[in-house]
Amino acid sequence: MKTIDLAKETVRDLNQALHDQASACTETEWEVLNPKGQHNLAVGVDQKLKIDIKGHAGYYCGGMNKEADIVIHGSAGQGVAENMMSGSVRVKGNASSSAGATSIGGLLVIEGDAGSRCGISMKGSDIVVTGSVGHMSCFMGQAGTLVVCGDAGDALGDSLYEVHIYVKGQVKSLGADCVEKEMRPQHIEELIELFERAGIKEDPHAFKRYGSARQLYNFKVDNASAY
């Protein structure tokens, strides 16, 4: 295992060392000590590495990740796993706003709560939040799955495209064009598979499904109040 102590080395040193693994992988297990909330940790990784960040991370930790499995043993700042392509990011604590923003693939697991705009403009990733999510989560979400085991704040799924949203607790309000939908067998299957990947135990039957009513896909003047 390779250890990088951010009390002694810089974020630049860390990221360059991780990027160097893309062309010639010499070490697959990495440990990052003393992150102390620094921003941009392990961004742009392009290799199947296992990276343990032993503490809190600042903004954009795991941003644009490809293939790596990153675990944050603490809480994460804004935009954790933003635009992730593949691999996984797991936050042991809470995540700030815009977690998984625009993420295209991979799995983001937040074991605590997530702030506002969780999964904003997500494009194909899977996001599982063990706790609750803040307002405007999944705003303009395009593709992928957002699972919330706690509650969701105001305007969930506003202006949604094709993301599958599942919530176990209360939804304070649904955003424009987001509606509750029937849970069919394939959705139960989808949740079972996702819980297994996320390593959490939940009863899929306890969840409700939400999705796009597809009424705002093309402009209609009768919907003017929703624009």
Partner: protein, 443 residues
């Protein structure tokens, strides 16, 4: 007996409710939706035609045309990037998306720009292989929608342009109507085919200049600090925006005036938000100078640049380079009179066509229709762009030499005068024949 002359009152058109205004009121009442169109501001604005150069005579001596060199090469991104971009002419191609434009049009722009050693720019829809393949210097836009954004393309880019806004619609997002969302466009943007694609007006994971500084560091980290990072703003509060962009860590700042084009937005937005390009440049330059960053953080301006005189005037006001969009499309064949009959068939006319969002462009440029797209040969289009860029460069050099400058960037405000009080105040150069700059010495 002679007949009495009968006098009548001439018909008088209202200046307030002119025919265009009335037709828009009728159209709005008929449809219940605002007018959406492409292009930039069409109203008459104070512009570079209101400025004149003071050619050399007794007190300055000119350089010999075609004999004495006038440098046009500019290096962009010298502040932090390991690999700044060197462009051979100070005219670049502005960001325009594949989606808004056909793949052939994007390829032609890349070919033309590469032929003269300048850069072209992606848009809100990601990087196409055609564009990357044909562009020797490609600027990759980082937009709120992040359509098609991925780290591989990010690393293939020669520069990254973080887009906060554009001159046609500062504060507004994008819109690509369903008729242009073909299978390929939909796939690149991860959207269902045929939906109206809305682009957000704010980035999804940062708000404000302090966050932007962290975002820029993230992009630098992902690309190992190799390439320059631009910040593009629509011209509004330009003085403050430029200061904040420098503080946020930009290598290059792009300021797009309200004449700058768009593929589609509300007419009311295009005509009523933002400030003219000419008014924005002195604000930007003042901000850079006050921070000691003029020429260290390069300034690119765009919005209504048509000829070498416009290029030279922007540079005399302090820009390091310019970007062209609408003019490049016209060079490719946009609004070409040879398609007049077809423009008329879709309710427009050559020279007036601005419904880019409808995807029915007879010139095959702002369309995804395969048959229409075929009309634009990317090789021939590339040659036309290269020709046009060369003319812009030669014209700008001609004016710079006439002012005695052996480098385009040696042009200065002192080389300019204004024809109108408005342009003198906006450009901060004297009214011709006077030493009066309105707004100066106002305490």
């Amino acid at each position: 007996m002679s007949e009495k002359t009968k006098y009548t009152t001439e018909l008088r058109e209202s200046a307030t409710f002119d025919r265009a205004t009335m037709s828009e009121i009728r159209r709005a009442a008929d449809t219940g939706i605002y007018d959406i169109r492409g292009w930039g501001a069409k109203r008459k604005l104070p512009h570079f035609d209101d400025l004149l150069f003071l050619g050399a005579s007794m007190s300055r001596y000119p350089l010999e045309g075609y004999r004495e060199k006038c440098n046009t090469q500019v290096t962009l991104g010298t502040r932090f990037a390991k690999k700044p971009i060197v462009i051979e002419t100070p005219v670049t191609i502005a960001g325009m998306s594949f989606g808004a434009l056909s793949a052939n049009a994007k390829e032609a722009l890349g070919r033309g720009a590469s032929a003269v050693g300048t850069s072209t720019t992606t848009g809100d829809g990601g990087m196409t292989p055609e564009e990357r393949g044909q562009s020797s210097k490609l600027v990759y836009q980082y937009l709120p929608s992040r359509y098609g954004m991925n780290p591989d393309d990010l690393r293939k880019a020669d520069a990254i342009e973080v887009v906060l806004g554009q001159g046609a619609k500062p504060g507004g997002g994008g819109m690509l109507l369903g008729q242009k969302i073909t299978e390929r466009v939909a796939k690149m943007r991860t959207l269902p085919m045929g939906v109206d694609q809305r682009s957000a007006c704010r980035h999804p994971d940062w708000t404000g200049p302090d966050d932007l500084a962290i975002k820029i560091l993230e992009l630098r980290e992902i690309t190992d600090w190799q390439v320059p990072i631009y910040i593009k703003v629509g011209a509004t509060r330009t003085y403050y925006d430029v200061k904040l962009a420098v503080k946020a860590g930009a290598d290059v700042i792009v300021v797009d005036g309200m004449q700058g084009g768009t593929a589609a937005t509300q007419e009311v937005f295009i005509e009523h938000v933002g400030i003219p390009t000419m008014a924005a440049i002195p604000q930007a330059v003042q901000a850079l100078q006050e921070m000691g960053m003029h020429r260290k953080v390069q300034l690119i301006v765009s919005g209504g640049i048509r000829n070498g005189a416009d290029v030279a005037k922007c540079m005399a006001l302090g820009a390091d380079a310019v970007a062209i969009g609408t003019a490049a499309l016209i060079a490719l064949g946009c609004n070409d009179p040879k398609y007049d009959e077809e423009f008329k068939a879709i309710g427009s006319a050559a020279g007036f066509y601005d419904d880019y969002h409808e995807g029915r462009d007879p010139a095959g440029i702002s369309t995804q229709d395969p048959e229409l797209s075929k009309r634009l040969d990317p090789v021939e289009g590339g040659r036309r762009i290269a020709n046009y860029l060369r003319v812009l460069t030669l014209e700008a050099q001609t004016l710079a030499r006439a002012c005695g400058k052996n480098d385009m960037r040696n042009l200065e405000p002192e080389d300019l005068v204004a024809l109108t009080v408005e342009s003198a105040a906006m450009a901060r150069v004297p009214l011709a024949g006077t030493n009066w700059i309105p707004g100066n010495n106002m305490g």
